[in-house]
Amino acid sequence: MNAAPALTVRREIAASAEELFDAWLDPASLAVWMRPGDTQRTDIQVDARVGGAFEIVMHTPKGAVSHTGTYREISRPHRLVFTWNSPYAGQTDSLVTVEFHPRRGATEIVLTHEGLPSAEMVAAHRGGWSDILVLIGKVHEKERAAGVA
């Protein structure tokens, strides 16, 4: 199951690794930043220890969306690993690794989300998959050009 990383997002933030790390485990902090734009309220439950569970419930105009998971590794302030389950991630557990790399006066956060069903496929069938995507693009262009609804 050691497939290539599914997706990686990086961001350098002007803060210490400790401060950023803590923002991932503190419910009051999470309630502020871990919510999409249309979320009215976010309920957070965090059991910040290895094997402990968390639940982030985002209340949106369309209804509540629950994200749950279990902490696999808590190495303050370097690495945080947790499983991730949400209506968007399908039925399977995916895995999120957040690394905190101190840079001069800042910290680079490298977030890797793996075990996503489609990502596994992308990794395993990269060639075929990208061919397919090119094809889809062409088909859509053709449909649009032909004015097909």
Binding site: A6, L7, V9, R11, I13, A14, A15, E19, L20, A23, S29, V32, W33, M34, R35, P36, G37, K62, P87, Y88, A89, G90, Q91, I109, L111, H113, L116, P117, S118, A119, M121, V122, A124, H125, G128, W129, D131, I132, L133, L135, I136, K138, V139, H140
Partner: protein
Amino acid sequence: MGEYRNTGLDAVLGAVADSTRRAIIARLAASDARVTEIAAGFPISLNSVSKHIRMLERAGLVEREVIGRDHYLSLNAKPLAEAADWIDEYRRFWTGKLAALEDFIKHKHQTTGKRKKR
């Protein structure tokens, strides 16, 4: 992200995991075709090709229209596009979260900075 539909995602991904089925999709992307025309392009039996086509139908990628004795197949690329969107959705999700985290930290620094000055 709205309500993201995951139903059928596994079927779609399973369907494109095979090179013969990808070739069938590629053939149908060019134009609609009869089952027999498609089978003629592959060095495997009509029966095997039919099995692959049925998998594509179950995934909603291929639609079949029966006219007389001919079975015409056409490509419906929408489920594939949805599956591909999925990883992009998550990339956007986490990019948005890290941006929100930065805003949160900046705001926190500003307010604590002000307090220190007073």
